[in-house]
Symmetry: C2
Subunit: 458 residues, 2 copies
């Protein structure tokens, strides 16, 4: 067993060591992420274009690619203190199990009732909505993690919270729905009769169980047609990555406290909110030439935006009502196989991360579903935390890298993001235990057909 006395199992910052500002990675990028584009005019979206949909200050944050530090308002910092600082954990037991000379750390974001890092941005978005004097916000949720986080944040600030939940999840995952109800949110199965788009879809497809694209469209319609409401989103956007930088800033502060310099940083990537937040200060040092890190995005082989997608302007939603974003995408019509259990189902990727990947500043790996669940179980058994399937993508690659160190004898320091817990994903674990999970991987033909439908942009 390695010495466990110098570095504790869990590094907690003191409250006065918690970040007072978010870090806006874009400010240090030489090649800025391409702007959002109006789907009709193909002009860059302005603050005025975005204002009917998003809160004013969030629009500013979305468009600001020059200010490196943006102060975290005191009210948000107070809320953060309810569940942050999150621990940076030294995975001594995993290291022992793997018999690796590597040193493995993970930043654990799951110790809050939303079960994930999503709360970091939910509270920020709710705060700015409240500050603007709004009555409420709308959003969509698939599995329910983001909806839960937002309902907690809205409850705290006394904001109305209207969640459109994909009908199949609404029916099959009643527990997340119940958590949202506990926090006073109204949860509507989508498609619904409450919106024009919902009624249209129901008329055309009476038996549909819904989709995220449809839920987004309904949430946007209600936000833009109801006075005092705006729409909020839990991933992909620049503003979300900004709020999530609190993950990376805390991680870096905890490492610095013990003089630890990581060799590699690993995070799972769906829309990119966790990865973008985790790597922010490290990537900043890399961009400024102050340090170098190997940075690895991990995505499911069934939804491989980075590793098999194309870098192009595409719709952010499958309903094609939202702006176009330049990103690595599988095409907004791409839908991963229904058997895919591990989250991270988004067809595109944050524009910021897409640009960084395009510029060779980070790498990406695609991993198979069953391998991910095997890694999840191995991790749970020694580290005592049942991980969310999303988080387990990062675990899988961290284990792979630690085993490489075992072969080479290198004592690399590996940091990965453990975004959340799997308490609401046990149907997927059950499938895995029962041998009913398979490894769908899209064919090249499927992807080419999807790319062919990308919007034509000069």
């Amino acid at each position: 067993m390695k010495d466990t006395t110098t570095i504790p199992y869990k590094i907690y910052l003191e409250e006065n060591e918690m970040p007072k500002s978010w870090y806006n990675l874009r400010a240090d990028m030489k090649n800025k992420p391409a702007p959002l584009m109006h789907p009709g005019t193909h002009e860059a979206m302005t603050a005025a274009d975005l204002a009917p949909v998003f809160c004013e200050e969030l629009v500013q944050q979305e468009l600001d690619d020059t200010t490196p530090l943006i102060e975290i308002p005191q009210e948000i910092r107070d809320f953060y203190k309810m569940y942050r600082p999150s621990p940076l954990v030294r995975a001594y037991c995993l290291e022992e199990k793997l018999q690796t000379p590597a040193k493995i750390y993970y930043k654990f974001e799951g110790n809050n009732t939303s079960g994930s890092h999503k709360l970091n941005s939910a509270i920020a978005q709710a705060y700015y909505a409240k500050k603007q004097g709004l009555k409420g916000v709308t959003t969509e949720t698939g599995a329910g993690q983001w909806g839960t986080a937002l309902s907690m944040a809205c409850s705290y600030f006394g904001l109305d919270c209207k969640v459109f939940m994909v009908k199949v999840s609404y029916e099959q995952k009643p527990f997340r729905r119940e958590v949202m109800r506990t926090y006073g949110a109204s949860v509507t199965p989508s498609p619904s009769m409450e919106t024009a788009i919902g009624r249209k879809i129901l008329a055309e497809h009476p038996g549909t169980t819904g989709s995220l694209g449809c839920a987004i469209s309904e949430a946007v319609e209600v936000a833009t047609s109801t006075p005092g409401y705006r729409y909020v989103l839990g991933s992909v956007l620049n503003q979300v990555l900004l709020h999530q930088s609190v993950i990376g800033l805390e991680t870096k502060a905890a490492l610095d406290k013990y003089g630890i310099k990581p060799d590699m940083i690993i995070g799972c990537a769906g829309g990119g909110s966790n990865l973008g937040g985790l790597i922010a200060p490290f990537m900043g040092e890399k961009l400024r030439g102050e340090a170098d890190y190997q940075i690895i995005a991990v995505e499911p082989a069934s939804c491989p935006s980075f590793t098999r997608g194309t870098f192009a302007y595409d719709f952010c939603d499958t309903g094609m009502v939202c702006p176009l974003a330049k990103m690595y995408t599988l095409g907004s019509g791409f839908i991963p196989a229904p058997n895919h259990a591990g989250g991270l189902r988004y067809h595109g990727m944050s524009t910021t991360l897409s640009q960084l990947y395009h510029d060779g500043l980070m790498e990406a790996r695609a991993v198979k579903q069953t391998d991910v669940f095997e890694a999840a179980e191995q991790f749970a058994r020694v580290e005592g935390i049942l991980p969310a399937p999303e988080s387990a993508h990062a675990i899988k690659v961290a284990i792979d890298e630690a085993l490489k160190c075992k072969e080479t004898g290198e004592e690399k320091t590996i940091v990965f993001g453990l975004t959340g817990t799997g308490y609401f994903d046990l149907v997927a674990y059950q499938k895995f235990h029962d041998g009913l999970m398979d490894d769908y991987i899209p064919t090249d033909e499927e992807l080419q057909a999807s790319f062919a439908k990308l919007p034509k942009v000069e």
Copy 2:
């Protein structure tokens, strides 16, 4: 808003401040808890009587009422570091919501995958089984919290873990079962065909959905008839209270760090493991005349062992195969109404706590189910943690006491135990939201009928 800068939201001990010994409250009791009694001979149970059922060192701990401090083995302390120290949280947001001058703290034991404090004793019991060279352990579980904790502990030490899960829970709560499977435990619905008692019960009641009493009997039968196996139990026993003293010791150390002296300590009580652990060092000071605290046990009005039970020798299990214990009991045949959702369904109470209560050293309150869920929801909305229904019993009384302070203007310091999270209790929350929960309270006649069946002991 009160000053939140002097006392942090969350007080974490450093790893080197964590307890190195458990505290054995019985050593400081003038009136010792009455010994376990053999159900046939009515003689006090000896180590030799208990050895076929329990691990050797646990038998010693069970019987030892004189040694105040028992060292926590290094291997257990290492495991504790995976999920401990648990935070002592200052409930600033709840205080603000209630507008109370009271200062409210809670010790939160839910930040681990078992979701509760049960892991504190599970790891200790698994360790001693391993040390004795055993192959495995058996146990029963109702809702699955204890079974989950034990499966995590056994997985860590490479012990076989056989859990008999009450059939109705096995079928209706597949998620807890799945967590246990993730940790490699075998989970058998009880009654089963694997044991003589199970086959007998199934022959007599073919359609039965099982009971905790039956599951205990099956687990004990397998443990005592399989070489290399012993039986372990998650509450009620002295050894369990001993292990759970880590909760109180950490709480006291965290308070001492900031010079805080609580006025009252509140905990929920089913079998008494959490309450006994939380209050241990405080009760110790009280017994030694060094300090005084108001100590309150909170139990469900539907299963009111302290407030309406009788202090007598009774069977520990409904199957009447286990030893007799002198305790506050509703009668081993008493079964709370099936609609009772909030855990804490045990008919009896720890002998140690029973003696302390009998001697007037602590008080007890019984609270109604719907009031408990109301308090749970109020707490979740401001403190961000969805509590287990069990824990919410303590929340309810903490809120009551804080509101009394609001009336009187007293700035009392209230500490309560938040034993776990409610992620696997959402069916109960749903009932509450849908107005389908009612408040069963046993009649005096029911209780008298149950008392009439107590074993006759001279």
